[in-house]
C-alpha cells in the first residue's frame, strides 16, 4: 500500500482517501442537484413562455437555496402505523447506490475514482439496487396509494433495465471492454460511438428516461397520479433525499451517455498539456453531460405522460425486440467483418431510420383498427 503524503501511515492514508473521495462525490451530487433544480425550473419556464423564479436573488439564482432551507426546517412527520425502520431506510437505499456510481465515471484522463475492469457491469448493478429502496418506500408508508405507486415504479424500473443493459452490451461488443476508461479511450477524435451505434444511443436514452422516473415515464411519482405515488408520506428532507437521488441518477445516466456515445472527456486541446489537459477534459465531460441533462429537461417540458399499460407495452413489445435485434445484427456483422465497424454503422443507421419512420405507420394502423372496432361495436 502506498504511504501517504508527509510519510503518513499507509492504512490511515487509505482511509483518509476514502473519506475525501466520498465527501467529494457527495458534494458533486448535492451541488449538481442544486444546479439542476434551478435549471429545470428556468428551462421549463422558458419553454412554457414564462420567466420562472426571479425574486430570490438575481434571476432567481438563490431559489434552490431557499427551497433547501425550507425542506431542512420542515417538521419530520411520522405516521404511527408506518414500519419505522424501513421508512427511514428507504431513502438511503435509493441514495447510496447512486452515490457509489460516481466511482467509475471517467471525468478526465487519470481523473477517475477506480478503473474497474467491470465498470459498466458495476453501474448496471447499482442501477438495479434502487428498485429495492422504492419497493420498501412504497410498502413502509402503510398507504394504499404509496403501495401501488411503489409496485408500479418497481415494475417499470425492472422492465426498463432490460433494454438499458442490452444497449450497453451492444456498445461493449463494438468496443471490446467493460472498463469505462477503455471505452472512452477507444473513441479518438471524431470516431465517437454515436456515429457507429445511434440506435443503441436512442434506446439507452429512452430506457434511461424510464430508469430515472423522468417524464414521459414519471407515472409513479407524478403529483396528479396516485397523490404522489411512493413519495406520498415522505416530507421535508426525506423527500429532498429522494429528489436529490433522482437528480443524481439523471446525472449518472447522462454521464454514461456522454462517456459511452460521445467520447467522454475528448475535446479540443485535451492532450496538449499534462496539467491543463485533465482540467480541460473535466470541462468537456461536464459540458457534454449537462447537455444531455438539458435534453432530459426539454423532454420533460414537452411530452405528456405515459399510462402504465402504454409504458409496459412500449417496453416489452417495442424496445426489447428492437434492442435484441440491434444486438443480434451487431454481433453477426462483427463476426462476419471483424475489425471493420462500417457495416455495423450502416446497419445501425438503417435500423434507426426504420424505427423512426415505422412509428407513425404503426400508429396509423392501430388507430384504424381502433376505429374499426368502435364502428363494429356501434353497429352491433
Amino acid at each position: 500500500m502506498p504511504p501517504g503524503p508527509f510519510g503518513m501511515d499507509p492504512a490511515i492514508w487509505a482511509v483518509l482517501r476514502l473519506v475525501v473521495a466520498v465527501a467529494l462525490a457527495a458534494g458533486l451530487v448535492f451541488n449538481g442537484a442544486l444546479a439542476q433544480i434551478y435549471l429545470e425550473r428556468k428551462i421549463q419556464a422558458i419553454i412554457q413562455d414564462r420567466t420562472g423564479p426571479m425574486h430570490t436573488g438575481p434571476y432567481g439564482l438563490l431559489q434552490t437555496f431557499a427551497d433547501a432551507i425550507k425542506l431542512l426546517g420542515k417538521e419530520d412527520i411520522r405516521a404511527r402505523l408506518t414500519d419505522h425502520w424501513f421508512f427511514l431506510a428507504a431513502p438511503s437505499i435509493v441514495f447510496a447506490p447512486m452515490l457509489a456510481s460516481y466511482v467509475v465515471i471517467p471525468f478526465a484522463p487519470g481523473v477517475v475514482g477506480a478503473d474497474l475492469n467491470i465498470g459498466l457491469l458495476y453501474l448496471t448493478t447499482l442501477g438495479s439496487m434502487t428498485v429495492l429502496g422504492i419497493v420498501l418506500a412504497g410498502w413502509a408508508s402503510n398507504n394504499k396509494y404509496s403501495l401501488i405507486g411503489g409496485l408500479r415504479s418497481a415494475g417499470q424500473l425492472i422492465s426498463y433495465e432490460v433494454p438499458q443493459i442490452l444497449s450497453l452490451v451492444t456498445v461493449v461488443l463494438v468496443v471490446g471492454s467493460l472498463s469505462m476508461v477503455k471505452i472512452v479511450d477507444s473513441q479518438q477524435g471524431f470516431l465517437i460511438n454515436f456515429l457507429i451505434l445511434p440506435l443503441a444511443f436512442t434506446t439507452y436514452f429512452i430506457a434511461g428516461l424510464a430508469e430515472t422516473n423522468r417524464v414521459p415515464f414519471d407515472l409513479p411519482e407524478a403529483e396528479s397520479e396516485l397523490v404522489a405515488g411512493f413519495l406520498t408520506e415522505y416530507s421535508g428532507m426525506r423527500w429532498g433525499l429522494f429528489f436529490v437521488a433522482e437528480y443524481g441518477e439523471v446525472t449518472v445516466v447522462c454521464s454514461i451517455v456522454a462517456a459511452l456515445f460521445f467520447g467522454g472527456w475528448h475535446g479540443p486541446l485535451v492532450d496538449v498539456h499534462p496539467l491543463i489537459g485533465p482540467i480541460l477534459g473535466v470541462l468537456w465531460f461536464t459540458l457534454k453531460t449537462y447537455f444531455f441533462v438539458l435534453v432530459f429537461m426539454w423532454v420533460r417540458a414537452t411530452l405528456p405522460r405515459f399510462r402504465i399499460d402504454q409504458l409496459m407495452s412500449f417496453c416489452w413489445l417495442m424496445l426489447i425486440p428492437l434492442t435484441l435485434l440491434n444486438l443480434l445484427v451487431t454481433a453477426i456483422l462483427l463476426l462476419v467483418f471483424p475489425d471493420n465497424i462500417l457495416p455495423v454503422a450502416i446497419a445501425n443507421w438503417v435500423m434507426l431510420g426504420g424505427f423512426a419512420f415505422s412509428v407513425p405507420f404503426l400508429q396509423r394502423r392501430r388507430l384504424a383498427s381502433l376505429r374499426a372496432r368502435l364502428a363494429a361495436r356501434a353497429a352491433a
Partner: protein, 168 residues
C-alpha cells in the same frame, strides 16, 4: 497495519454479517425483517466473492440476488399477509428432530471443511475472472447456456400461467 490484517478483518466482518443475517432469516418472527436480512446476507456474500477476487460473480450476485430475487420475495411477502405469528407451533415436533439431525452433521462438516482443504500452489496468480469466465461460458459451455435460457423461458411462462386469474 498491513493489507493482510485488513483482509482478515474484512473476512471476519463479512462472516459475522453472513451468519448473523442468516440466523435472523431462520429465527426471526417478522417476515419483512427476515426478507431484508436475507438481502443483507446476499450483499455480504458479494463481499466474500470480492475477497476471493471473483469480481464479475460479485457483480452478478448483487444484480440478480439483491436486485431481483429480493424484490420477488418482498412481493411474495406483501401479497400474502399473515401477521407476525410465532415461527413454530407450540406442540411442533420438528425442532428437536431438526436439531438432532442437523447439528451433529453440521459440526462434522464444519470441522472437516476448515481443516481438510489446501490452497493450490499457484492460487494467488489468477487475475480478473472476467475473461476466462466469458470464454468458458460462451465457448466450452455454450450448450448449457442455451439450455439455461430455455429454462428461463419455461419458468417465465409457467409463472405467468400459474398466477393468471381464470377470466370468465
Amino acid at each position: 497495519m498491513s493489507s493482510e490484517i485488513i483482509e482478515q478483518a474484512l473476512f471476519a466482518l463479512l462472516t459475522v454479517g453472513i451468519i448473523g443475517a442468516a440466523a435472523g432469516v431462520v429465527f426471526l418472527n417478522r417476515i419483512t425483517g427476515a426478507a431484508l436480512l436475507m438481502a443483507f446476507t446476499f450483499f455480504c456474500m458479494a463481499g466474500m466473492f470480492l475477497l476471493l477476487g471473483a469480481e464479475t460473480i460479485a457483480a452478478f450476485q448483487v444484480l440478480i440476488y439483491v436486485g431481483a430475487i429480493t424484490v420477488l420475495i418482498l412481493y411474495g411477502v406483501m401479497f400474502t399477509p399473515q401477521g407476525d405469528r410465532d415461527y413454530r407451533l407450540f406442540f411442533q415436533t420438528q425442532t428437536p428432530w431438526a436439531a438432532l439431525f442437523v447439528v451433529p452433521i453440521a459440526i462434522f462438516v464444519f470441522v472437516t471443511a476448515l481443516f481438510a482443504f489446501r490452497d493450490s500452489g499457484n492460487a494467488g496468480a489468477l487475475g480478473s475472472d472476467l475473461g476466462p469466465l466469458a470464454t468458458s461460458v460462451f465457448r466450452d459451455y455454450a450448450f448449457p447456456f442455451e439450455v439455461a435460457s430455455v429454462l428461463l423461458l419455461a419458468a417465465m411462462i409457467g409463472a405467468i400461467v400459474l398466477v393468471k386469474r381464470d377470466e370468465d
